[in-house]
Each structure stands twice: as structure tokens, then as C-alpha cells.
Symmetry: D2
Subunit: 353 residues, 4 copies
């Protein structure tokens, strides 16, 4: 931590800072400049934060130079992690495609979408049973019935299932059916939910909030990790900017940046980032090329009748292209395309009967 | 709703749009321009949204011209509303000051802060018992013990109490002690929480998410209103922008804009907006002058030892100035400064025994 | 300046930083922490920047703790400055209203707008002769003919004239007619233009770029100041954010922040900030209440026929309210409303003959 | 154009809109909805804009549905354009790499950087002789001497030269030496400069302003095109957002979006986007994969001593990787890597003698 003193700070004010730091067993190194005096702090950052040094007379600014997360950081865990979801690997060396409909609408639609997902090269199925929607008048999902459909489709297709959880009270029921729990962008700082999924014993897909910094995203992952769960996959899905040509602005740089700060896998959602069908393929190519560990793509057998985000779902006619992109670019990037594991088929099928 | 066709759209594609609109009993008015054809839609917007018109061939853009909320809108409720919290009015004609510590730390600190709040002109006390924090290593609050302290301090001072709720499962216990439930900025789109507070039978203070548009903020309020609770106060607390000189950028224009779109009262939090003590008084003046219905201000008897956001809390020495600002500017704006009602003192005291 | 070393930095890498700093006669203070080593630099920042310390092995981040401007900073000029434009004061103790049409369209329209400006409490007239427009198909202004009209109207009304300059080559002709040169938001980092107005011998009104940080804004002012011209007034006019309800987001906090960092006067343009007529009066009130040194307001005798930004210009019917707001709030803020000086009337009139 | 009436608008107010539209020979189609009446306008948009319909009583919003540019739009020029710069093609079917030092510092440094550029697969050299810098105390470039160095290096290496122009008055001298004129991000809305480069008879590289929407960027290109110059290449270089981990946020989606709206080539600058050396290669890969027509990359023989942006310049050790990326990904995208033309060598060499 670094304390920057105001130009007019007195020697006594600098001394006050030094004294407080020492009072919690920290060390303080003073650099006196022409226009600024800087105090470098060595010791326990949590202790220093409790000092509210920014409140002291003569203090201009307090700069934190260490990162506010530990378990998910590469500082103490330099090697990048590989996560396994129902036998499917996500992480370095692998490219994992997850695809499916924004919302589970019916058994037929979900099964059809899962077949499209498989054709597109996916090894996992994503479908929403609980939908957080900006407007209370928008479609809110099938709930537990949707979870049962997902489990049935998993049994049929061998695709592992990831689905969103929106309420701490709903974590147990979702965890009963799904292989991986998704925390959506709007809930990235819903700390009660983060703690609940951290304790649920299932891998977690943590989407970046659309206005969260990378540091805040990793801090949200730390909430999950603190509960003993390090099976976390980060998903970049676009941030909010002034540009309105796209629904969100895909922050493609966030992929290598997050991979350097954290050992967790990082995937990209090109569907929600752009919010436009015509951008899904180019953004998917960019994501693999920048080094993403996977993709999350909306597909729908009939986008015109989709109950949620139909404008961005890929129809059958685009599936071939996604499969080609995933195959050719993963090779170029030295990655193996993850295949469905199929290992949980029978058990899952039992759940929904 | 307006459908803008692409320049190259064919007559058949325009007809397809018109046909779909009519299939849900809507009317479609076609305007053929030189470079664009526009189709104006008349009928039920929810029906139209289910058509996914954006997915149709030849459609460039679908523009929604009505607002996505109803109950909180002024369209069907032109007069601005006044809410009452434990006898204290919030809304037109009144200026209501709410003040208190960011976090409840102890009975003494809370009582002292409440006395400061009262001196500053406040009629309500705000203090956090459950604290949502970006880092899991930051102070998380006293929980129910903090709620008991707040109720005791209310009994002692006659100030109505507002405090944050962070989990749907915690709404009941908070509602037992508090006069008003606060939904924080990070939870503005935690829809499970919005529905829970909508059903709790207590007024709600809804902070604007730091990257929420005004439309999204009002849509969040609509979630609460749908559960039958229209006792909602909106609180602007700064939005996230590129500027780093302040913690957030106070969107002062949002106050008159939200007041024109919604009949709900709108207050301003100058403490979290700037995140700097030296900006609290000027921003408080600006908020009253722009027409806000109230203020929410951090005060702390000893900011240097505050467990949360000490850098922005006003100390004793600034209380006089806030009181003066509230008194003189409310008069200039034709508002009466709300006084503590004191009417619930005895009941509240009983709760914590 | 502070150099933050990466966690894995070696002792030799820290030594390399220290060695380079000493090679330009700087001092380096090393603070070794558990996860980070910090090097505090004392000496000439310009020398340090030339070292490209960020390029060195083991360096994580270089943080500049001093401000990148000097002449406009309060560090070496603690008292806030008052500028005079044609006898009209702008700065502490005074509230200066500048008003006029976005574009000079004709002698009649300009004179009528000037009379409205005067009724609104203005002591200066702003009107555009050279208009920078986003689209090349939008109205671009009358050019020098517009300048002559402004000078004539000044002679008639006694209002000092400020008008925009858009090209270094046009500075001389504008300076011949105007009392103050305006640099618009889009040209805030047009450094050739800044240097030209810095040398023109007239006061300058420097609008904040709609995506400029406060530091960049003050650095732009420094370009002008470097040419020996410290008669600069800063004008906040809204920044670009994700919110689309308003044309820009008025950054009201920027007023006290800039006044603390710089000794220059800071005024607010409530017309361009919101881009909506109904927001001009509330934002004008907020601007005065936050402590602005003046206002810049669009007025037009007939907004419906305005050739530029008609949607935001105040018509005759709102003039009374602006005058009342300026009078009552300036008193409350302990400021005197600046009056037209009228002292240059005859000379100016001569110019246009 | 679409005019949305306020919910409370009267029939007479709707009629007033219709009447005005007809007064300029336009057609108005009225759609009366339950909560809104919409008027669709058919005719000349420029005429409609002059009506200031937003100022009329009862009008809530005016929505422009056509784009504000024509010459650079694909509406009237559906095929994507290929530009030639000194014999080097830029546009569909080709991948063109432009590389060089941020600033021309000396003949040796520039020649060395040009050799690196060539090794990296570049067919064009970019180097700055006139540097627009945020701080007036930063290095401002060698001026005309720098231009002479660039011309000499072109003669030596056969690389076409692009360099920045910052002042309309400097366009002629830059055009005398360079093959292509660069308009930098800060000058994207310097309309006097745009018009000057539009008349200079040389191809133009137009960088996107860091807070410009895609529509504003294309409108800026329209200013150049209006002067008869359609040899324009657009360059995405990152936009300003709340994220501070990178200097700017590369808006990778802007590449396909701009290519769909405009027929002009679109290239990407991965160096300025991230502002970090470690991001240049991944972002370059993403840019080619998303479909960019070229790259603009900072290289420097000795980044540690660079006078400008040394933190982002690639050193010798990274050149091989850029060459590999350009070769392998251009093939995968079905593009041919552009080669230096060398055709102007002798003439250029003559200039500097």
C-alpha cells in the first residue's frame, strides 16, 4: 500500500501516518519528494485498510498495490487450472464449447437445441430454467420443470448441463439436476448467492457483471473460493459502454488479462456480448484466437419463436460454421476440442422420473 | 413499437412483418421512405415482443417507444407520490434527510451517529447490519445484533430506521426491526430479492445500480410494485464512468428525469456518489437545488475508526453545515424539512428485549 | 512516482530500477513487502518518465502521484483566480451568466437572443459563427459574417462576446471581433488550436471534452497557459456515459474537483449537458448550488426554427425563471451576479463597418 | 425518421407535426397506439431535421432511422472497397500489416524499426513526426526532420509510409513526404483537419476517437469523402470505458459492425488498444480472426529508451511471433498477406536531399 501525502502536508501529519502503521506492526518507508511525500507500507493490508488512512489530515490518496483476492490469484498458484464438469475438461490445452437455448421452453425444443449444440462441437449444454429478466413482464422460465427437461436431455445426448441459479434458496434444487451452476452477470455481486454456490459442491460458471472491473470479477470468484470451491470458470460476456451498435461491448482483452491474474479458466459468450446473430461467428473466432478456454453460444431450433433473446440465437444454418471455426482455430491455438463425456447419462435420466 | 426495415428489404419481407403483427391482433402502419421503410405497430407490446421481429429477414432494428414499466410510471399516475415511513413523509413538498453510519458497529457508535444525524436535520436513521462488500475479506456487518441496536437507537432518538437487506431469506428478520428496507446498488437487479421486499409490507429504498440506466432502475422498481408494494423511494448514488477522480459520477440529471417518468420520490446519496468527504456538502446542495426529495448521508462519530467507507463519512464538525444547507435550500425550493415522527419509539424498543 | 514491482521480481530487477533512477540524479526509496516491493521516486518526474520504467523486467506498474500540469494547478498558486473579459469578472465571489444562441443566424435573431440573455441575467453573449458539427450535412455557421453580427450586437447591448474558434488558421480573425475565444469539447485535445489560442492575447473558454478526465482537461488548459495566457475559464458540459436519457451526463462533481485542483474559474453549461430544454433550469440551479463560477446557457427567440440544437434552447417564456434562479441562488452562495460592463461598445461597433 | 408523441399529446399537436412535414413536401404516416402515437416520416431527412420537431408541443422523441453518412455507406456502394497506398493494397482479400515506432527519433532508430516491421510481415511503415500528447511536457516529435527520415527509410526499405498530421496548416508538408496521412484519435472530430486531408490527394488512415460511436466515426470519414477523397482506411484503436486494467478497451465488435455499415477497409491497432506489450500478440490474433483488413503495430528496436509509449512497443524478440500470426491466420481467413511494393523508392529518396 502507498500513502500519497498532499503537497501542503506537514511533517507531523506524515508522522501520524507512520505512527498508525507501526501501531498495527507495519513498516512505513517515507520518500520525501519536491511536490509530494509518499509513504510505502509493508505488512498486512487488511490491517492497514482498517486504519482508514484516507481520513487522516494531510493524506491525499491511498493506493492499494496488491490485489484484493488470494485463492483465485496466480500469485500463489502460478499454474493455470483445469476444471472438470461431468467429465468434460475446461482449461489450458482444451477448447470447450458450451451451447444451448437461452431458455428451456419444452422438451422438444431443448432436445433439438442440444442436438444442434453437439453438431456445433459442444460438449456441454446450457439452458435457462430460471431467467432473470430486466422487465417483470418478460418470460421468467419454467423453473424446476425446466431442470427436469435438462436432465432428460443430458441422458439422451450425453452433454453435461450448466444452468443458472438466481436465488440462494434455489441452489440446492438446481444442484440436484445440473452439473455446473451458472451465476449470471446481474448477480455477480449478489454475495449471498456466491456463498451459496460456493458451498453447493458443484462447479460454477461465473459471468462477469456488465459493469464490473476485472478486479471485482475476481473478487466475486474469491467469495466462491472461500467456501472451499475452486472449480470456477470465468465467463466474459461484454461490458457496458457508450457504444449502442452492440448490446454490450465484448472486452476481448479481458481474456488474457484475467488469465494472467488468475489461474481459473476463462471462456467467452459471443452471443450476449454483441446481442446480434451476425456477430456471433466473428466474435467466436476472435475469442478462440485471443486464447479463450471455451465458448458459450446461444442456439435455438427456431429463433423466431424463442421466448428469450431470439435475436442473438444461432439457427441450424449457422451450426456448421461454428463447428468449423472451433475445429480449425483450436488446432491453430494448440488446443484439443473437448468432447462430450457421456458418463453420467443413466443417473441423470433417473432424476426426472 | 417501430420496426425499421433494412434498405434492401423486399416487399414480401415487409408483408411478413405486417402479417405477424396482425396474427396477434395488432395493427401495422407502413411508411415507405427513400432509403428505409418503417412499420409502426399499434397494440399490445408484450405480444409484439414475443414475435421476435428482430429475427425476421429484412428487419434492421426494432425500436420500443413505450416504457417497460407501468405501475411506477406517471403515464397512468400523473401526480407525484408521497411515501410515509414510520410517520415521516418522503416526496413532493418535503425534504427528507436520512443519515447514519455506513455500518452499525456498536450501540454507542450507532447512538452517537444517530444524534449527529438528528443535528444534521435528519428524520430517519440509516445504518448497515448486513454489508455487501466487493472483497470477501472486508467487514461484513453485525447481522441481527446490528438490527437490535438500530431498534434500540430508534427508541432512544425517535428516528425511523432504514437498513439494507441482501438476501431474500433475510427479508423477514430485517422487516421485523426496520421501518424501511434498503436494496443496495449491487442488488438492484437481484430479482428474487426485489420480489421478496415487494411482499414484505414495508417501504423500500431502492438504490440505482451503478451501471443501470434509468429505465432499468424503474423496471426494478416495477418488480417491487408488482407484489403490491408502491411505497418505494428511488435513490441516485452515482454511476460508473471513465472518470476516476470520484468513486462514482453523481448523475444529477437522473433526479428530474426519474421524477418525470415515475411518480415515486427520488433522493440522492452524496456520500457514495463522490466517495470523498470534501464533496458531500457541495453535492448535497446540488441535489436539493436540482429538486431531489431527500438526501442520504454517511455520518460517523469517528470516521478514522469506521469499519466501512470511513473516507466519505462526515464527522461532527461538518454537521452544522449540512443542517444549514438543508434548512436554507429546502426553503428556497419551497419544501418543508421533514421532522422525526417519534411515534413508534416504545414499540421498537420492545423488539430488542 | 511509485514503481510497483511484480511479486516474482528479483533483487537484481529492483536494483536495476534504483540504478536507473539514480542515473538521472533521482532518489529511490525501496519498501519490501510480503507480496510486493515498492520503489518511491523523488526527483524530476519528466526525467523519470523518459526512463520508461514500465518496460523494465520485474516492473508491474508505474504510478504517477504528481499532477501532469503546473501553471494551472493550485499547488503553486493556491488562491483561486478571477478572470476579466471585456470588464466582466469571472471567478470567486461572482456568478457570471453567459447566454446566447447556439448559432448566429441573422442580425435580428442574434440581437433578439442577446436581449433575452440580458433579461436572463447574463453579462456576456455567446453565439457560434463557426460550428463544428458531427455530420458534414449539418449547418456549419455564417463564418466571419457571423463575427461581424456579434460585434454589432455587442455595441448595441453592451454584452461581451465569446465565440468558438475551430481552426488555428482562424484564430486571428475571431480574436479581432471577440472578447473571449471558445475552444469546444471536440477540440479539447486539438493541441495546435490550444497553442494558437494561447498566443492570441484573449481570454479563453475551454470546454471539457465529453470523454476527457479532469486531469486531461487541466492538461489541455496547461497547453494554453504555456503560451503565457492564464486567462482561462473551464466549462463542464457533460460527459459521455452509458445513460441515454440525456445527451450527456452532467458531471456536477467535476466543478468542486476542478476548483480544488486548479485556480481557474469553472462554469457549467446546463444546455449541452442534458440536451433537453426541460432540464436546463434544474441543472442551472444544481450548478450554482455546487459552487460553479458561472453558467453558459442556450437561448433562442424561436427555438422551433433554430438552425442548431433547437431542442435545448430556452425560449422567452423561461427567461424569467433563469433570472430568478441566478439572483436567488447567487445570494445564497455568497456571490454577486456579474453585470454587463458595456465599456467596449463603441470600439466594437467600429469593427464591423 | 420517426416522431414519437407524448402519451398526453392532443390530436391538434399530432396535426401540427403532420402539417410541418407536409410543408417541406414530406409524407407523414400516423400510427395511433394505446399509450403512444407515432408519426413515420418519408422524404428528405435534412429537410426534416431543420424543422426541429423535437421542439414542438406534444413531441416526446424524434428517432432518426437512416444513417447520417452517404458516401462511405454500403447502402449505395454495397461492395467493400480496396484502397492502394504506394502500391500496397488494403481491403478485402488482403491482410496488410503496418508497423513502426510510435515516434521517429533518429535515422538509425527509424531504419532499425523499419527492418523489424518488414520482418514482422509489414508492407507499410508508420512513424510519428508530429506527436499530439496529452501533456505539453511530453515529447512532441521531430517535425519536418522526422518526415525526411521517414522518406529516406522508405527509399532504403521499400515500405510505404504513413504518418500523422495534427494541424490543417501542416497537411501540405506531410503530404509531400508521406504515402498516407494519419488522423489520430484525438483529432477524429477536428473537422478543419478532416477537410484538409480530404483535399490533399493522399489516402487517409482515420483512427476512431476513443469515445466516438461507430456512427460518429463514419460521419468523420464522410467529411473526408465529401472533399472527393474515398481512399480512407478506418482504424479501431480501443475506446474509453470504466475498465482500467487496459489503457483502452479494444472494441473488437466494431470491426465487423463498421465493415457492414461502410465499404471502407477497417484495420486494428492492438498496441494502443491495450497499451501493454503482453497484450499485443493476443489482440493481433483476435483482430485478424474477427476479420480485420490489417494491423497497425508499434515496434521499437529498444523500447526502454523510446521517447513515446515505450511500454507497448514490441521489441525484436516478439517480431517472429507477429510474422507467424500474420501468416497463419491470414491463410485461415482466406486473405493474402500484403507485400511491400517498393515501387516509389527512388522518388522518395530524392525528397530528402
Amino acid at each position: 500500500m502507498v500513502v500519497v501525502m498532499a503537497p501542503e502536508a506537514t511533517a507531523a501529519e506524515v508522522e501520524a501516518v507512520v505512527g498508525l502503521v507501526r501501531s498495527v506492526s507495519g513498516q512505513a518507508f517515507v520518500s520525501r519528494g519536491l511536490s509530494r511525500t509518499i509513504v510505502g507500507l509493508v505488512g498486512d493490508v487488511t490491517d492497514f485498510e482498517a486504519l482508514n488512512l484516507g481520513s487522516l489530515a494531510g493524506v491525499l490518496q491511498v493506493i492499494r498495490v496488491s490485489v484484493p483476492y488470494k485463492l483465485v490469484s496466480r500469485e500463489h498458484h502460478p499454474a493455470r487450472s483445469q476444471i472438470r464438469v461431468g467429465g468434460v475438461p475446461i482449461g489450458p490445452g482444451t477448447l470447450t464449447v458450451i451451447a444451448g437455448p437461452c431458455a428451456v421452453e419444452s422438451p422438444e425444443q431443448t432436445l433439438e437445441a442440444a442436438r444442434m449444440a453437439k453438431s456445433a462441437g459442444a460438449s456441454m449444454l446450457r439452458g435457462g430454467a430460471f431467467k432473470p429478466r430486466t422487465s417483470p413482464y418478460a418470460y421468467q422460465g419454467l423453473g424446476e420443470q425446466g431442470l427436469r427437461i435438462l436432465a432428460d436431455v443430458r441422458a439422451e445426448t450425453g452433454l453435461a448441463v450448466v444452468t443458472e441459479v438466481v436465488d440462494p434458496a434455489g441452489v440446492d434444487v438446481v444442484a440436484k439436476y445440473a452439473d455446473m451452476l451458472q451465476v449470471g452477470a446481474r448477480n455477480m455481486q449478489n454475495f449471498a448467492l456466491l456463498q451459496a454456490v460456493g458451498s453447493a459442491g458443484k462447479p460454477v460458471l461465473l459471468k462477469r457483471g456488465f459493469s464490473a472491473t476485472i478486479d471485482e470479477w475476481l473478487s466475486a470468484a474469491e467469495y466462491i473460493a472461500q467456501r472451499g470451491n475452486l472449480n470456477i470458470v470465468l465467463c466474459e460476456r461484454g461490458i457496458r459502454t457508450f457504444e449502442t451498435a452492440t448490446r454490450n461491448t465484448l472486452d476481448i482483452s479481458a481474456v488474457p488479462v484475467a488469465q494472467r491474474l488468475s489461474h481459473l479458466p476463462v471462456i467467452v459468450d459471443p452471443s450476449h456480448s454483441g446481442g446480434r446473430r451476425d456477430l456471433v461467428v466473428p466474435l467466436a473466432r476472435a475469442a478462440i484466437a485471443v486464447g479463450a478456454d471455451g465458448l458459450l453460444i446461444d442456439v435455438h431450433p427456431n429463433p423466431k419463436s424463442a421466448l428469450c433473446d431470439g435475436d442473438q440465437a444461432l439457427p441450424e444454418s449457422d451450426i456448421r460454421e461454428i463447428a468449423d471455426v472451433a475445429a480449425s482455430l483450436s488446432t491453430l491455438m494448440g488446443r484439443t476440442l473437448a468432447a462430450p463425456s457421456g458418463e453420467f447419462g443413466q443417473v441423470a435420466a433417473g432424476v426426472s422420473r
